[in-house]
């Protein structure tokens, strides 16, 4: 039987990799994907705690996070498409106007 700490380490690793992705990548789409990875790492923790306590609440929240991730992806990608149409770029540091 794996101890909970194993899962926590895994989740931590994914979370950190996701953080690195968010801060180092310039491509907004990859940044968004890294955020998905972070959310996913959180999900592992939630499911693990749900298992530890034998209660479905953790899984319910993981489900909410998936829904939230879907919403975020949809809106985020919508913004990216709109932006790409106007500026022909998806690089974060070229998105330097407050208004276009």
């Amino acid at each position: 039987m794996m101890s909970p700490a194993h899962y926590l380490f895994l989740s931590l690793a994914l979370f950190l990799i996701g953080c690195v992705g968010v801060v180092t990548r310039r491509n907004v789409i990859v940044v968004l994907m890294s955020i998905e990875l972070i959310l996913n790492a959180v999900n592992i923790n939630l499911v693990l705690f749900s298992r530890i306590f034998g209660d479905a609440a953790g899984q319910v929240f993981a489900l909410f996070i998936i829904a939230d991730a879907a919403a975020e992806a949809a809106v985020g990608l919508g913004i990216i498409i709109a932006f790409f149409r106007n500026r022909e770029t998806v690089l974060a540091d070229e998105m330097d106007l407050l208004k276009w």
Binding site: A5, L10, A13, I29, N40, A56, A62, A71, V75
Partner: protein, 177 residues
């Protein structure tokens, strides 16, 4: 035995996939590796007895969200943008900071495990049968205790959908057709 083999397999795939996801230059490759990671995580969910989340992860994350990502990457044709990606000093610093913070968190988990009675993490897992049948348990919880969040989540999705449509709609095209 089988449990730990599965854990190390899925965990390894997830971490390697995530690392590749962050380091690949081609966004489509990133997406593919993220899919790998997500599938491996789904395997972890299954191992933790969360069957419904396992399949929700596959259907929603991989079948839904990631397809959306791939779709957008295909549409915006990134190869023009890909040429000038380089690792910058600033992000190296940030990465080091993140690594330090991560090491700290890892140490906390590690030592909490070492010291008996000192934390949550040494607590043993409840028997897996507590959560079976999984989808029924989950539904019970979702539609009784968490009905309001559930409805709010659905409203959130609706708003996101409308927002995405409004954002992505091409005004030029709607005029002439």
């Amino acid at each position: 035995m089988l449990d730990s083999i599965l854990f190390y397999f899925f965990g390894g795939v997830a971490v390697i996939g995530a690392a590749l996801m962050v380091t690949r230059r081609n966004a489509i490759h990133s997406a593919v590796f993220l899919i790998t990671t997500l599938l491996a995580t789904a395997g972890i969910f299954l191992q933790l007895g969360a069957e419904f989340l396992f399949i929700a992860q596959i259907i929603l994350y991989v079948g839904g969200i990631m397809v959306l990502f791939i779709f957008v990457i295909m549409l915006v044709r990134l190869d023009v943008a890909l040429h000038h990606i380089r690792f910058r000093m600033k992000s190296l610093v940030v990465t080091i900071v993140i690594a330090v913070l991560g090491a700290e968190a890892g140490a906390i988990i590690y030592y909490a495990r070492k010291l008996p009675g000192q934390g949550l993490f040494i607590q043993n897992m409840a028997p897996a049968s507590n959560l079976t049948p999984n989808s029924e348990k989950l539904a019970q919880s979702l539609f009784t205790n968490y009905l309001l969040p559930f409805e709010i989540a659905s409203v959130l999705l609706l708003v996101a959908m409308v927002g995405a449509v409004v954002m992505a709609k091409n005004k030029k095209r709607t005029e002439d057709s």
